[in-house]
Structures are given as structure tokens and as C-alpha cells.
């Protein structure tokens, strides 16, 4: 029996407060979340209706110039430069007067992610834990996304499509684990879009994927799709071949390689394809693959709901396609959160960490706070669900 009230809130309060620190990639986020202590949490699987109140959600993104990706060292430096300021702002915005007394638990991202940025954040997390004498909890980044998504959308048991710069997974819950039903066999979807954006030398602000989405919207030849490899393998998918191919098309386009029959009319030399067309075709192809593997997982576990999380999840076209698929599957529903929660943030780490904490799971030895680049979603024992 799940009892989310296993650990009482601090100082006989009727609510819990958690702060979450996230910095596994190029976003540094700190958020504060509050859970009321409810009788309905005493027993039963109610972890998706915590009635969480978001007291603050501060984020700063390390943005690189067009054509450049973010490197671990530089990203770590960005996080170090900002982490105390962001924590301070999050506390101020949450109107916490004394973090020592107010905060039940400090949650940080244990992994997966880039090593150096993760490390730069955990240093701050350990320091405030010791300064304030507040316990620490290490959170799996993917589980953070899932729990935040469930709380925001109230989706009880959805199939989760997790799409970000580092991950592409289809996940469903079973027997206390978030199990991976399908995933990328090579690069992640966000990485694929980021790298294509670099080839196109388009801006990385606010994010490369967002700018590809805007270009795709401007495509004027939507009925003439550029055929790309479609590489779904069971419930897994592969994207590196698609990226290599569309990259080569883009390069030919920029070099005006008139020999390319797909891009230039062989008689008149006229251009047949624009950058917008490439973006549109890439999105249509990649997203169709994502929706397909999600549908397979839904059929497999007999689910009718989908939750999209991760940075790429804020793409409106992906949400549209997923919604269409769900409608066609006997009135399924798709849940997506907006970019405040899709994109990496501190609140999600606080949300998942607080659930863990309320079940009685805290770190007792600082040795257990070592961050890790590899940390599979299904390694986490999900004690807060039936």
C-alpha cells in the first residue's frame, strides 16, 4: 500500500516544500514546489494528484551562437556562474523567509546528462544541504519529467513519450518501474534537430528545435514531401541515417550543387526545394516515427492516454499528430505540458524528489550524491505508485 505521508512535514506543518535543482544539459533550473498533506495520500495510488503548488520556477539557458552546439565545459561554467543567483531568486519568488526551516528536502538531478554540468549543480546542492541541514534526494531526470507531466495533466497511467536533446524513449509504468518499451538506437530526436539546425546555421535562441518548427510552418510545398528514410524497428527507431541524408541535402542546397536532381530542375537549373521544405519534411518524417512507436506501446499495454514530455514535446506539430493518433484510437487522449514544464526545469526535479522523500527515501551519506551520466529510467524503484 502506497502511503505518501510516510514522512511527516517539517515542524508539524500541513504541507511539504521541496526545492529542485536541474542542470543536466544547457538549461539551469531551480524550482520550489509545495504539496499539501492530504488524507487521500495515506493509501492508494494518488501520486498524480498531489495538488502541487508551484511557488517558483526559474530557468536560465546557455545559448550558443548559430552553428555551434553546447560543450560540457562551457555549459558547466555557465551553470557555476548562475547557480547561486538562480537559487536565490527561486527562494525569493517562492517567498520562503528561512530556507532552513521552510524546506523539507533539496532535490537535484543525479543523471542522466552531461557530467560536468551535472557536477557543477550538485556541488551547490550539497553545500546548501549542509548549510541548512536539509536532506538531499537524487532524482532521475527522466522520472522528473514523467512525474511533473502526470501532476500537471492529471494523467493517471499514460504511455510516456520522452523526447529531448539527450533522450527519445517510449515509457510505460509496470510493477514499480517506468519501463522503456522503445527508444532510439542512435541519436536522440532533439540532438538530431539541433544538429540539423547547426547545418542550417539558424539561431539557437530560444532553441534550435523551435526555429526548425517555425521554418517548417512556412513550407509552401506541403504536398510534395521529400522522401527520407523511415526507420522504425519494432518499438525502437533510428535517426542517424535520416540526419546524415538531410544534412547532405542541405549542404548541396547551400553549395548550389545543380547536379542534385532532387533539389534542382535538371533542365532549367531552377531550385525545387527550400530550407523550409527540408525542415517540414524532416519534422513530418521524424514525428510520424515517434507517433507510431507510441501507438505500438499503447496497443501493447492497452493504454488510452499519452503524455509527451521533454523539450521536443513543446513542438505543436508533434502534439497535433499525437492528438490525431489518439483520437483515432477509440477516443484516446494526449496530454502535453507547455514549454514551462516540457523544457528542463527545477520544478520537475522537486516534484519527483518530493514524492520519493514522502515515501521515506532520503540520502544518508553524501557518497550517494555522486552524479552519473548514464542512469536508465527503469533503474529507479518507483515506490510512490501501486
Amino acid at each position: 500500500m502506497v502511503n505518501l505521508n510516510t514522512i511527516p512535514p517539517k515542524n508539524n506543518r500541513e504541507y511539504y516544500i521541496a526545492i529542485g535543482l536541474e542542470g543536466s544539459a544547457n538549461k539551469l533550473g531551480v524550482g520550489v514546489v509545495k504539496h499539501p498533506r492530504l488524507a487521500s495520500h495515506q493509501s492508494g495510488d494518488n501520486s498524480h494528484i498531489c495538488k502541487a503548488e508551484i511557488l517558483s520556477n526559474i530557468r536560465d539557458t546557455y545559448i550558443t551562437p548559430p552553428g555551434e552546439g553546447f560543450l560540457p565545459r562551457d555549459t558547466a561554467r555557465h551553470h557555476r556562474n548562475w547557480v547561486t543567483r538562480i537559487i536565490k531568486r527561486a527562494i525569493k519568488e517562492a517567498k520562503l523567509t528561512d530556507p532552513k526551516l521552510d524546506i523539507d528536502v533539496i532535490c537535484f538531478t543525479k543523471g542522466p546528462g552531461m557530467g560536468a554540468p551535472l557536477h557543477s549543480v550538485v556541488i551547490a546542492a550539497r553545500t546548501i544541504s549542509l548549510l541548512w541541514d536539509v536532506p538531499l534526494i537524487g532524482v532521475n531526470h527522466c522520472v522528473g519529467h514523467i512525474e511533473m507531466g502526470r501532476e500537471i495533466t492529471k494523467a493517471e497511467n499514460p504511455v510516456v513519450l520522452y523526447v529531448s536533446g539527450g533522450n527519445t524513449q517510449v515509457i510505460a509504468y509496470s510493477e514499480n518501474r517506468y519501463r522503456i518499451f522503445g527508444e532510439t538506437l542512435d541519436v536522440a530526436i532533439g540532438n538530431c534537430l539541433d544538429r540539423f539546425a547547426r547545418t542550417l546555421k539558424i539561431s539557437n535562441a530560444p532553441s534550435p528545435g523551435y526555429n526548425i518548427e517555425q521554418l517548417a510552418k512556412q513550407c509552401k510545398n506541403k504536398d510534395r514531401l521529400i522522401q527520407l528514410p523511415y526507420t522504425v524497428k519494432g518499438m525502437d527507431l533510428s535517426m542517424s541515417g535520416i540526419l546524415a541524408y538531410i544534412d547532405s541535402l542541405a549542404k548541396d542546397l547551400f553549395k548550389e550543387n545543380k547536379k542534385n536532381k532532387l533539389l534542382f530542375d535538371q533542365e532549367t537549373g531552377e531550385g525545387l526545394v527550400t530550407v523550409e521544405d527540408l525542415c517540414y519534411s524532416l519534422q513530418e518524417n521524424l514525428f510520424a516515427m515517434l507517433v507510431e512507436i507510441t501507438e505500438r506501446a499503447m496497443a501493447h499495454v492497452n493504454a488510452s492516454q499519452v503524455l509527451i514530455v521533454g523539450g521536443v514535446g513543446s513542438n505543436v506539430r508533434l502534439q497535433e499528430m499525437m492528438a490525431q493518433m489518439c483520437r483515432d484510437r477509440a477516443n484516446g487522449r494526449v496530454h502535453a505540458t507547455d514549454e514551462r514544464f516540457c523544457i528542463d526545469n527545477g520544478v520537475m526535479i522537486a516534484q519527483a524528489g518530493l514524492l520519493q522523500y514522502r515515501m521515506g527515501d532520503v540520502i544518508k551519506d553524501l557518497k550517494d550524491t555522486v552524479v552519473t551520466q548514464k542512469f536508465r529510467t527503469d533503474e529507479v524503484y518507483v515506490s510512490w505508485r501501486e
Binding site: 557555476r80 547557480v83 537559487i87 551547490a124 550539497r126 548549510l131 555522486v370
Partner: protein, 82 residues
């Protein structure tokens, strides 16, 4: 190879508690190549002491610089969030 390139770093903190926190924060992380680089942390009253040993100057420089980066975060956090 001998770890004969060494450096000792002493940083005074405001009090012994702060120096001890710095030690506790830095201690858990494992050294990536212990055969090339070693470090030990301790607190002597309010002084934080780190002793580095390494196979060459370059590895020593990188290792020390990483620890100093972390120390800067620790100190800034103490200043801003105590």
C-alpha cells in the same frame, strides 16, 4: 609512474564549520584516473587544506583548476545563501 608533482592549497574560511562543509562537499566525487592523480581534503580549524599529487604538470593543473572551480561555487553559495 610516480605521483611526484604536488601542490598544497590552504584556504582560510570564516569558521571551522565552513571549512568542514567544503571538505564534505568535495570528498564524495571519485577521481577519474587515480593512477595519474590523487587529492586529499581536510579541515584544520577554519583552514581548508587540499593536497594534490600527480604524474605531470598538465594533469596537476587541470585537477587543481577543477577543484578551485568547485570551491568558488561553494564559497559563493555560503556567502549568498547562509
Amino acid at each position: 609512474m610516480n605521483l611526484d608533482h604536488t601542490l598544497k592549497l590552504e584556504i582560510p574560511f570564516e569558521d571551522a564549520k565552513q571549512a568542514n562543509i567544503a571538505v564534505d562537499v568535495l570528498k564524495p566525487d571519485p577521481i577519474l584516473r587515480p593512477q595519474d592523480f590523487q587529492v586529499s581534503y581536510k579541515a584544520r580549524d577554519n583552514v581548508f587544506v587540499a593536497e594534490f599529487e600527480s604524474i605531470d604538470d598538465r594533469v596537476l593543473r587541470v585537477g587543481v583548476s577543477n577543484v578551485i572551480d568547485s570551491l568558488k561555487t561553494i564559497i559563493e553559495t555560503m556567502d549568498e545563501l547562509s
